[in-house]
Symmetry: C2
Subunit: 449 residues, 2 copies
């Protein structure tokens, strides 16, 4: 069995295949495993999370894997006032209600009533069965907001929420996808509430390393797969390190990257279209390390939203316990990420730290370590957080993303609807793909040779 | 193995035990299986649902069982205007926003922001780990609403919502339990949105009958268990049909009923307290059958909320397809149920039909069949929809509800936090209890005799 991609999806698939007595070989393009999870260890041992890091309540598979890997989960810090920088003002949010002007607050509240109702009508696992699915699929979140918001400030907060969480501006976001995503993850409330999120000691990428350790030499790094040939006996995967034959393949890379693999014979039209219909969002994630979480001493939670940029959202990402050393993590999503990327390194750093100083004071301007990760510039992710189905594709080609193509199976967090785009979804997809392979092989075994 | 109770929890546990090669015997007090699921078949074959009936998106276990049982799922009707009877007026709700006066609407919107934030901080499976858990546990929803609502109408809608969904007035509801329940089921939005709900063709009780069929003579009806004795070899369950010895027992009845079983030796204080700390809510469910769903012709969805009573909520419960025959299902929760129960049968019927006429017009007054089920009057349920932890008990005794007591295991939808109180939770609990039994027996097998 050949598995393409050593992110959480591919590693999970390989582990399940190995457990079932098969011999998987994982081909990974990068010089590391972990895909969109990535840690950077500071001199003092603190792991800065540069990729996926949060587990929502109910992400049981990832929680179990983390514990198997010897890590523990800890709750993200959530005490003190949140900040909202809006209409040129820095406002404190101490309770649950966003500090907006009255009309803006009403606007946001009404939008939520309306979104809730839409979300409730969309089946998470089969959004194309929603009433009016085709119309929702053809509509962008931006179009919807144009029609359903009236206040400048309310709209600005909603824009911020969507852009931050999806890694693209609302006019690029597919309403049907967004509704299914909200229904699956409950994540839209993240901006107005603080959803329970757990972090993993030692960093989320440790889970991928643990899975890879269990596979030993069955993971081949720096082996980008350029072609998949369907043969009489199964598949042949051509990589930088030579060709590998196997009975079946699991492709566990994002659709946008899978689209660059040459299939022989070529993929059917629908499948090829599907892979090209889910371009990645864009996000640059930054981390700033300080001696201690000084903002907490001033009664701040470390959470902030700002419309001024380049950062749109900041969270306290400090160590558990007393939070020392202190870490602020920030997100620069969508076009802001592309604009930031165009600047020289020093200017990028200054722009981000200026944001942090505006929010948290001068101490924020001199971190002991500053790290940024531009996921759109990473050739083996080409974006983040996840793939964004183009308008009109959810009820069409994208429905087929998870369907096997002969001996080729598909994994990755874009091939599930529940927990789409996250670590839990990646693991689920890997388990599902492995189960498909086992079922197919079981069937093949009883067929006459 | 002896299983007490042939609701979905007990039957699921027994099925899993049988599958594992053990011989379960299910002792059921009633003359039927199904517990809090119950159907009544009209002369024309229409099944009126008198108990649990709805599957939420994600209730996968029940969905799978229903399909195994040969049933299919169909979406509840959701087209047309909802009705809200409030402040003496009958209002139509066509979009997502409740037709409230502006201040009331703001009040409800702010309450939802605040509830969302609280819900987000409560881990669904371990609510006692929430920050401030003890304080939340000591607070009633009513107290919380007293502090956080300002408008009469907004408060009235929220009261209606909680009372209808929990089967008790807000001052009896444990805030911590309510938050965990909302987090687990997403159900609070039910009143302002219309959450996806599926129904089961032939009625939900058909799933229980299917499970019972698979167990054959291993289900004993009219065998209420009065005592459980812990013996050297395991347990002895005394029922109206004689004593049964077994290595282990699964008690799959609501805590309030389990509390009436005599344990020898007596249960430890905490466990005994736990069983007495979860009294049932109260609800009377009524169904009215009509030739066709006439309200749809008038652009009504069949969904209504009313503060006037005795009904507080009505839904379209018609057959799939064109909806003929038409069925309206209504709920009379909490003290309203107790007040209604005090009236003679004719008066009860008249009071309920008067509500329906007020909402849906004179045609609603003459159903072809009218059925009511007062769950509080049912000696083997003694209430509905589910057990309501008393104030202060969630962080205390109630935490132990699912913990085995020697050879005695506990199932039932009150012993899970995820999908608490519903059919999915019942099935989950039965699977969990069976797994516990199997694990315990496995361990026992390797111990020296």
């Amino acid at each position: 069995m050949v598995v393409v991609g050593a992110g959480l999806a591919g590693l999970t698939a390989a582990r399940e295949l190995l457990r079932a007595g098969l011999e998987p070989l994982v081909l990974e393009a990068r010089d590391r495993v972990g895909g969109r999870t990535l840690g950077r260890t500071a001199d003092d041992g603190t792991v800065l999370e540069l990729g996926g890091q949060w587990l929502a309540d109910g992400n049981e598979r990832m929680g179990r894997l983390a514990r198997e890997a010897g890590a523990t989960l800890f709750r993200n810090h959530d005490e003190g006032a949140d900040l909202l920088e809006m209409s040129g003002e820095l406002r404190h949010q101490r309770g649950a209600v966003p500090p907006l002007k009255p009309l803006a607050l009403l606007d946001v509240a009404l939008a939520r009533f309306r979104l809730d109702r839409l979300v409730a009508a969309v089946p998470v696992r089969t959004p194309w069965h929603a009433p009016d699915a085709a119309r929702l699929d053809d509509t962008s979140i931006g179009d919807w907001l144009d029609r359903h918001t009236r206040s400048r400030e309310g709209r600005a907060l909603l824009d911020l929420a969507f852009t931050t969480m999806w890694g693209a501006e609302p006019h690029r976001l597919n309403l049907l996808q967004a509704l299914a995503y909200i229904g699956s993850t409950g994540k839209f409330d993240n901006l107005t509430t603080t959803k329970i999120q757990d972090r993993i000691t030692g960093g989320a990428a440790g889970v991928a390393r643990f899975l890879a350790d269990g596979l030993g030499e069955r993971v081949l790094l720096e082996a980008p797969v350029t072609a998949i040939r369907l043969t009489a006996g199964g598949v042949e995967a051509e990589s930088a390190q030579g060709a590998v034959r196997a009975r079946r393949a699991v492709i566990a890379v994002p659709p946008q990257l899978a689209a660059d693999i040459r299939f022989e014979p070529g993929l059917p039209h629908d499948r090829a279209t599907a892979l090209r219909s889910v371009p990645m969002g864009a996000v640059t994630k930054v981390s700033a390390l300080y001696d201690r979480p000084f903002w907490r001493e001033r009664g701040l939670s470390g959470k902030a939203l700002t419309g001024r940029g380049p950062l749109t959202a900041v969270f306290d990402n400090s160590a558990p316990g007393d939070g020392s050393p202190g870490v602020l993590v920030g997100f620069v999503p969508g076009t802001r990420a592309r604009e930031l990327a165009a600047l020289p390194e020093d200017d990028r750093r200054r722009a981000v730290l200026d944001s942090l100083v505006r929010l948290f004071g001068p101490q924020a301007g001199t971190p002991g370590l500053y790290v940024e990760k531009d996921w759109a510039a990473d050739p083996w992710s080409r974006g983040g957080y996840f793939g964004l189905p183009a308008l009109g594709t959810m009820t069409g080609a994208v429905r087929t993303l998870a369907e096997p193509h002969g001996p080729v199976h598909w994994a990755g967090s874009e091939t599930v609807l529940k927990d789409y785009g996250g670590m839990e979804g990646a693991v689920t997809s890997g388990e599902r793909a492995a189960a498909e392979v086992l079922a197919a092989i079981g069937e093949a075994a009883v067929q006459p040779a």
